[in-house]
C-alpha cells in the first residue's frame, strides 16, 4: 500500500485528479476496452471532480471511453431530488464532460426489486471486465461507501440500513426533518471495491485521523472496513497533513516518498509505484537527508 501525504485538501485533490488523468492516458482506452472507474459522492471528492472538469476543459482528459460505477444511492429518493447521488454526479461531473450516458452506472434506489438491482449491478461490472480503479473516501468511523462498522469484509452490492448517526448527519440536507431522510441505501460491498484492480482512497481532515490510523496501522477489522485495503495488491491512500495526526508511521511513509523521488528518481518510477530498471544519473544526493 502506498501512502502519499500532501499539505492540504486542495493539494490532495490535485494529486488524485492528476493521477486519474495519467492512469486514463496511459491506459489508452477505446470503445472495446474502456477505462472502468468506481466513483464516490460526498464532500471529500468535490474538489477532485472540479479539477477533473478543469482538466477536461483544458482538453487534457476525455471521458469518451470511460465507464463509471458509483458506490451507492439512497433508496426511495426520486432520481432528480436535490440530495440524490444521481443529482450529485450530474452537477459535479457528468454535466460538464463528454461522458456517454450509456457508460454511466448508478444504483437505482427506486427499482421494484432492490436485490435484483444489486445483482444486476455486480453483473454489469463483470460484463465490462471489472473495475480498473475504484476511488473512494472514508467515514469518521472508517467505513467505505455505506459499509458501516460490522459490515462483512467479503460483502457485495446490497441494501443497507443506514446507521442512526448517518441519518442524523444527513438531516441537514432534508430541512432538518429526520422523517424525510432516507433510511435505506444501496451500496457496493467491501469486496466489490477490493475486487478492483486498484483502490485509491482520499482522506482529508483531522476528524478522519483516527479512522486513518485504525485502518492502516492496526489489523484488518470489520469495525474499520477501509482496513481491507491492507489485503489489496494495489492500494493507494492520499491524505493531508491533518489526517496524519494519529499516525505513528508518518515519517516512515514520507521517507519512502523521499527515497523514491530523490534517490531513485521519478523517471525510474512507473505511475503505479513500480520501479523500473535503475539508470545511474549524476548529481544524485549521496545521503538520505540531502
Amino acid at each position: 500500500m502506498r501512502l502519499i501525504i500532501r499539505e492540504d485538501y486542495e493539494e490532495v485533490s490535485e494529486n488524485i485528479a492528476n493521477y486519474i488523468k495519467e492512469r486514463i492516458r496511459q491506459f489508452e482506452p477505446s470503445s472495446e476496452r474502456p477505462f472502468v472507474i468506481g466513483l464516490p459522492t460526498g464532500s471529500s471528492p468535490i474538489s477532485v471532480y472540479k479539477k477533473l472538469v478543469e482538466l477536461y476543459k483544458q482538453e487534457k482528459i476525455s471521458f469518451k471511453h470511460v465507464v463509471t460505477f458509483n458506490m451507492d444511492e439512497y433508496v426511495g429518493l426520486p432520481r432528480d431530488h436535490s440530495e440524490s447521488y444521481h443529482t450529485f454526479m450530474w452537477n459535479n461531473l457528468f454535466m460538464h464532460v463528454d461522458i456517454n450516458p450509456s457508460n454511466v452506472h448508478i444504483l437505482d434506489g427506486n427499482a421494484p426489486d432492490l436485490d435484483e438491482e444489486c445483482k444486476k449491478f455486480e453483473a454489469d461490472i463483470a460484463r465490462v471486465g471489472g473495475i480498473e480503479l475504484f476511488l473512494g473516501g472514508i467515514g469518521p468511523d472508517g467505513h467505505i461507501a455505506f459499509n458501516e462498522p460490522g459490515s462483512s469484509l467479503t460483502s457485495r452490492t446490497r441494501v443497507k440500513t443506514l446507521a442512526y448517526e448517518t441519518i442524523i448527519a444527513n438531516a441537514r440536507f432534508f430541512e432538518g426533518d429526520i422523517t424525510k431522510v432516507p433510511k435505506l441505501a444501496l451500496t457496493v460491498g467491501v469486496a466489490t471495491v477490493m475486487d478492483a484492480r486498484e483502490v485509491v482512497i482520499l482522506i482529508t481532515g483531522a476528524h478522519k485521523a483516527i479512522a486513518l490510523a485504525k485502518c492502516i496501522e492496526e489489523g484488518v477489522n470489520h469495525m474499520w472496513t477501509v482496513s481491507a485495503i491492507q489485503m489489496h495488491p494495489k492500494g493507494l491512500i492520499v491524505c493531508d497533513e491533518d489526517a496524519t495526526l494519529e499516525l505513528h508511521t508518518v515519517k516512515y511513509f514520507k521517507s519512502i516518498e523521499h527515497v523514491h523521488h530523490s534517490l531513485i528518481g521519478s523517471e525510474n518510477l512507473s505511475l503505479q509505484g513500480g520501479v523500473k530498471q535503475l539508470k545511474s544519473v549524476n548529481n544524485r544526493p549521496t545521503t538520505p537527508m540531502e
Partner: protein, 436 residues
Amino acid sequence: MPTSEIKESDKIYKIINARLLIEHEIVENAYLWFQNGKIIHPQNLFFSARRDADEIIDAKGLLVVPGFIDTQINGSYGIDFADYEEPVEVLQKNIDKVAKGLLQYGCTAFCPTVVSSAAEVYQKVLPLLNHRKGSATGGAEILGAHVEGPFISVLKKGAHKQAVFKDAKNGIKDFDEVYGPELLKGNKAVSIITMAPEIDGVCDAIPDLVARGITISMGHSACRIAEAEEAVTKGANSITHLFNAMQAFHHRDPGLIGVLGACDLPIPETSVGHPAPSSTSPDRKRPDPRPFYGLICDGVHVHPNSIRMAYYSHPTGAVLVTDTLSAAGLPSGIYQLGGSEVEVVEDGAAYIKGTTTLAGSTITIVQCIRNFRKFTNCPLVEAIEAATLHPARLLGIEDRKGTLNVGGDADLVFLDDTNGDIAVKRVFVAGEEVKL
C-alpha cells in the same frame, strides 16, 4: 443512440462557454440546454433516456440572456400597424416584415401597437395581429396587439386623432363595439389596452376586461392621483410611456406619475401581473401593488434624470419600450403615422410635421437597454431585466418568456458585453438560430 433515430425536433442543444443570466445573476460555469424550442433540465434525459447533447453551441464567453420583449411598437420600415387601406395579404406581408426585422436587435417577442383608430380599422387589422409563435425565419413572436386608445383623453392625445376618441358609458359593450369580435378572444388577440381612467365608464369596465386576460395600461390621460389609484385597485397594472401624454408631476396632485409613490394600494394576492418586491415596495416580501410603467429611453421623450428618478422609486416596475413608429429603420424624412404626417429628424426623434409634438421614436430595444443603464447607472442585469423579465411579468407570461428558466421558450440573445457596452451577436427564436 444512432443519429438516424433522432428527429430534428428532438435534438438536444447544449450551450457551453457562456455566462448566463439566471435568477438575477450572471452565472459562469453553467450550461443551457434546450430541445423542441424549450429550455430543459437534461438530468433526467441523461439518466433515463441516456441522452446527451446532440449539438454543442460554443458561446465563446458571450453573455446569454433571454430574448427582448417590446410591448409598445407602432411599426418600422415604413410600415404602420394601424394601416388598413391595403388588401389583407399586403398587410400580412408587412407585419411579417417588421417581425423579421426586429430579430436583429434581439427582440424576439412584441406587441404590435395600434394607435387610436375607427372601428373599421380594428375590425380589419386586429385579426392579423393575433398571438403567433416566433421562428427564426418567420420573425419575432407576436404576443397579441396593444391597442393604444381610443378610450383616451383629448387633453393628452399626443399624435392621436381625437375624432375617433370614445367614452365607455355602456361599459364593456362599447369596447366590443369599437374593437370588434377579436376582443372576445382576450389576450390571444389583444394583449394590452391603453386607456385613460377618467374617461366615462372606463374604470368600471376594467374588471371585465381583466377577466378576459387583457392587461390594462393607463395612459394618454389627464387623470388625478385618486382616479389613477382607483384604476389600479380595479385591475390596471401598467402605465403607458410614463411621463409622456399625462399630467406633469405636481407636488399636491402627482397625477398618474404619482402612482409610483402609492403606499395604500391593496397588496395583490398573486404575483402574476405584478412587480416583484423591492426595497421600495410597501411590503418588502409580497408582490408590489404599484403598476409596471413603460419608459421610452431614447433620451428625447424623457429627460435622463426623470428616468433615473422613476427607476429608483420603483425599480422592479420598469419596462423598456421603443414606441417606434413606421419610420424606424428608415433614414430621416417625412412618413405616415395613423393618418398624420410625421417628420424624423437627425437625432432619430419624430415630431408631427410642423410642430414640437413628439410622435414616437426610431430607437431599437437594445439601444433602450444601453440608454437605460447609462441614465440610471443600474447593474447590467437590471437593465436587461427591464426588457425581458419585467415585460414578461407584466403580461403574466413569465413561465415561458423573459427568463432562462427551465420550461421557458428558447428565445436567446448572445451579447458581447466587453468595454461596458452591449452588442447583439447571435439571436435564437424558439431554439432556432436567426441568420443575422
